[in-house]
Symmetry: C2
Subunit: 556 residues, 2 copies
């Protein structure tokens, strides 16, 4: 059997390696357009930023090492220009020499990945408008920085844009980050991105949210980036990180079926509409675990897994790729943010019903040094409590909680199940009631009716019909409070019940939601019919509405 | 309703707090023998060690704060001496004043915790033989250290013993750690504890494994600890951390049923044999998740959860405590070790059949700074692949992997399911193929017959019947190799197949098991019938057999 793999990074190399392990005698050819295979593409920003010192550390394999260990015929700098499905051949160009040849295959794997989106803007082809997709791109950007560039504009506030902005700041450049949405890291819900944005600003990144690039111009060797609000940013170079789209050109020209989102369509065996052609990685459409619909979710983990599965099925196995839940994470200077499963905006867009809880626990026991408050949002189904998604932002232990949520979602667990998870506890690592357990407690209380929540979004339209009750201490109240709120500290609540009207709704809140939960329980059981507690407390309130927006009401 | 809770730390306080939230009008009394409630008992060693600077940080609540926030009647320094189940009263002694009184209850919760084991050894009651169970104990030890103690003997190498040894070393004391077993951290399998032991030794802790204290003597104000091998250690003081046993005296004297392990027997609702008495925490017997048998598993997380469940059921809910899987973790200087589910020794003792895999991946992408090799062992059922247990030891990301395994075990996942877990990947946090995925790959390969393993335990009895084949590079081979091994590096294996005999078993190995897996695949498919690859490679081999033991064979 002769297997030809197009693309030699995550998905492609996984397919080739797995195929070799299952079929020692197959002929396996890997064709890679760039000059490197199996390179650490997620590490590229960090070499530019100087965190990864040695460029060679990113080059995990060479054609020679892959020949030695796995008897693979790896050809870099070879671009595939066409597929003749009838003849079972592909047309290849050796980019260095210009030599062209046809290569036959019994089974073909398409793993071309995704391409950076390059909107058709004036000046977009200026040589100082760069992208970061491979080693060559990295070398080009790093050369500019090493050569004395002092400023850059990063277009796009997704994972790559944020990592680029951080890395360039680490090198001392002045950095503007332009993002069309009103938040960075679009897979997160907006309120969850707030702290990351503040942290970036604290580290000197100038955020330009709600704006896009409109044109690029050369001004004396610098690049002038005009934004959609007509302001112009001038910098030594710009990096385009405005998202990616599947590189499906080859598949399209070969007449393979594409999906509704423009990616290569594959079945659960990673097989395209041609039974002898498989596809894997960022170029294919996958089923979204939670939403159940075809989606483009370009992530390294799923790409590797899909490649492996393609390799297995080519070698006669019957391995199924389930779905992609979009687990992702990003380091933002000292902070970490990420999520798994569906976001609230995705659920809302799809018209799915959901419940949500927020909490702000410590990454580990608060009395043990090095801990900080984290922010967690969990989405789950009304009724069943089935987990739909989770987002976590903070400093220590964020990646751990994302992975626990990811595992729970993959297992089909409910919010109730989180209560009983038995996670590793010692003070340097966690709390006896882990943040994930706490999310379970809150969500489970909500589902069982032991807790009723109001949300920042209810302010002021809903809250104006009742009393906003602040149960924090008087000093906290004085520093800041929700406009119109009355302050009765939790400890005095039982004695001052008579200050609370019984004929209208009471909207309780505190800082994070725990004291207000205690207040809720006591008020409810002492006869108040309509009480709710603010989800996530004033912390979430301010993240949702912003510091200014939260003052749109006025103290009476 | 009047609820009385005996014990005011983890389980007891959880029960009281949950009961209050569900029943605002109940009278709730909490009786605590020591002078503190809700203190951070897992933090005690770290205050002695100076990592937690402020003693007050460990005192999370006071009777006053609990009265204010939750209207609890908390009495510290009150010891319960007896239960009159007929009359529904308990007999209480106020330790300070000596005043005695009876207190009535409708529902009683026993949460007395566990007591340090004090073996009946000569001199054990010497005032310089201390234990660490509560704030008072901590104060006593800390006073000795602050007062100039220069040396200590810690008896017991479990979690508390190890944390004490570390904390005392951090304060500059000379520390001997005495442990009866041939390893520290007995819940881990022996080979998994090796690196932690080496790390402790590197930090100056003198390990005395396989030894116990035989007697204690005063020598001019110092304590002389005679060990079972007749050596004597002299130090300023000794800390007894030789395990704990459930404090079931009160339950026993009240005629409540005890379990086979000596803990208080409870049903799934945390109810004792008396329907008006519940029990929770370290004093009760729980069902072991994996082994399915009654067990004593004194851990803070489960204690809190059990207390909460007792509180719920007292208030008319129907909440069930499932089981305890024993997820635990310990910081050992810069290292971390822990596990979840059953250990191999527990499975072997119970006669359960199991398979095991070892791996040694990086905590995160090797090219991103700050990563180190971790050691993972996963145990699972033959046939089904159902996960039975996992142990992880290393530097970065250990707690995360334990929690993912813990969640997977709780979900009833199989080793196959680990392959498809979609975990958060960016270079600072993980690898695209996470260590947990890798464990899944290896275990799944084993179950499917794509891989056959040999184990360090097979050396030399089994291996002497065949060829030991080292597929590492020649330099690695020269530095150290398994006695008798022949070296053919992986890259040359296809060319030197004729050096391998086809009529006897081939025992392949490399450093961690990956190259030998590739070698296995190619040898097997090129016609060798009897090939196996060493589980965990030479790293695990040396951990199992020890550096010396591994030389018991001789090079031919």
């Amino acid at each position: 059997m002769k297997i030809v793999v197009i693309g030699g990074v995550a998905a492609g190399m996984s397919a080739a390696a797995r195929a070799r392990r299952l079929d020692e005698l197959a002929e396996i050819v890997v064709l890679e357009r760039s000059n490197h295979v199996s390179f650490a593409n997620c590490g590229l920003p960090y070499h530019i930023g100087g965190v990864i010192k040695e460029r060679d550390d990113l080059l995990l394999q060479t054609p020679q090492s892959l020949r030695m260990s796995m008897n693979l015929d790896v050809r870099v700098g070879h671009e595939v220009r066409g597929i003749d499905r009838q003849r079972h051949t592909i047309h290849v160009v050796e980019l260095g020499s210009g030599r062209e040849y046809d290569e036959s295959y019994d089974k073909l794997v398409l793993a071309p990945g995704a391409m950076p989106i390059r909107p058709a803007l004036p000046g977009i082809d200026h040589p100082r408008v760069l992208v970061l997709r491979n080693i060559e791109d990295m070398d080009a950007i790093k050369a500019l920085v090493d050569g004395g560039a002092r400023s850059a504009v990063v277009i796009g506030g997704g994972y790559i844009g944020v990592e680029m902005a951080e890395s360039l700041r680490e090198r001392g450049l002045a950095v503007d980050l332009v993002e069309m949405a009103d938040q960075i890291i679009p897979p997160l819900d907006r309120e969850m991105a707030r702290d990351l944005e503040g942290h970036m600003a604290d580290h000197g990144v100038k955020l330009r949210l709600g704006l896009a690039a409109a044109s690029f111009r050369d001004v004396d060797g610098r690049i002038a980036v005009e934004l959609t609000d007509a302001t112009t940013l001038s910098a030594n170079f710009a990096v385009l990180a405005a998202g990616v789209r599947p590189d499906a050109a080859l598949a399209r020209s070969a007449g393979l079926e594409l999906g509704s989102r423009g990616g290569i369509k594959v079945d659960a065996h990673m097989r395209t509409s041609d039974p002898d052609i498989y596809a894997a990685g960022d170029a294919v459409e996958v089923v979204d675990t939670v939403m159940g619909i075809p989606s483009l979710i370009p992530l390294a983990g799923p790409a590797n897994r899909q490649g492996r599965i393609a390799g297995e099925n080519i070698c006669g196995r019957d391995t199924v790729y389930g779905s992609t839940q979009g687990t992702s994470i990003v380091k933002v200077f000292d902070m970490t943010g990420g999520g798994t499963g569906a976001s609230e905006k995705a659920l809302r867009k799809a018209g799915r019903s959901y419940l949500k809880v927020y909490l702000h626990p410590s990454g580990h026991a608060g009395y043990y040094p090095g801990s900080a408050q984290m922010h967690i949002k969990v989405l789950f189904e009304p009724g069943t409590g089935k987990l739909l998604g989770a987002q976590v932002v903070g400093f220590d232990g964020v990646d751990k909680r994302i992975d626990v949520f990811a595992t729970a979602i993959r297992a089909g667990m409910t919010i109730h199940d989180l209560e009983g998870l038995e996670l590793a506890y010692a003070p340097p690592y966690a709390s006896a009631k882990d943040p994930v357990n706490m999310a379970g407690f809150i969500g489970s209380n909500l589902l069982k009716g032991d807790l009723a929540l109001w949300y920042a979004e209810d302010f002021p339209a809903q809250t104006s019909k009742g009393l906003i009750l602040d149960v924090r201490g008087p000093q906290e109240y004085e520093q800041w409070h929700i406009p119109g709120a009355v302050n009765i500290p939790l400890g005095k609540l039982r004695l001052q019940m008579d200050r609370i009207p019984r004929d209208k709704p009471v909207f309780v809140y505190c800082k994070v939601g725990f004291r207000s939960y205690l207040a809720y329980r006591l008020l409810k059981q002492r006869g108040l019919a309509d009480v709710k507690t603010l989800a996530g407390g004033s912390l979430t309130f301010c993240s949702v509405l912003g510091k200014d927006a939260s003052h749109k009401g006025r103290d009476k």
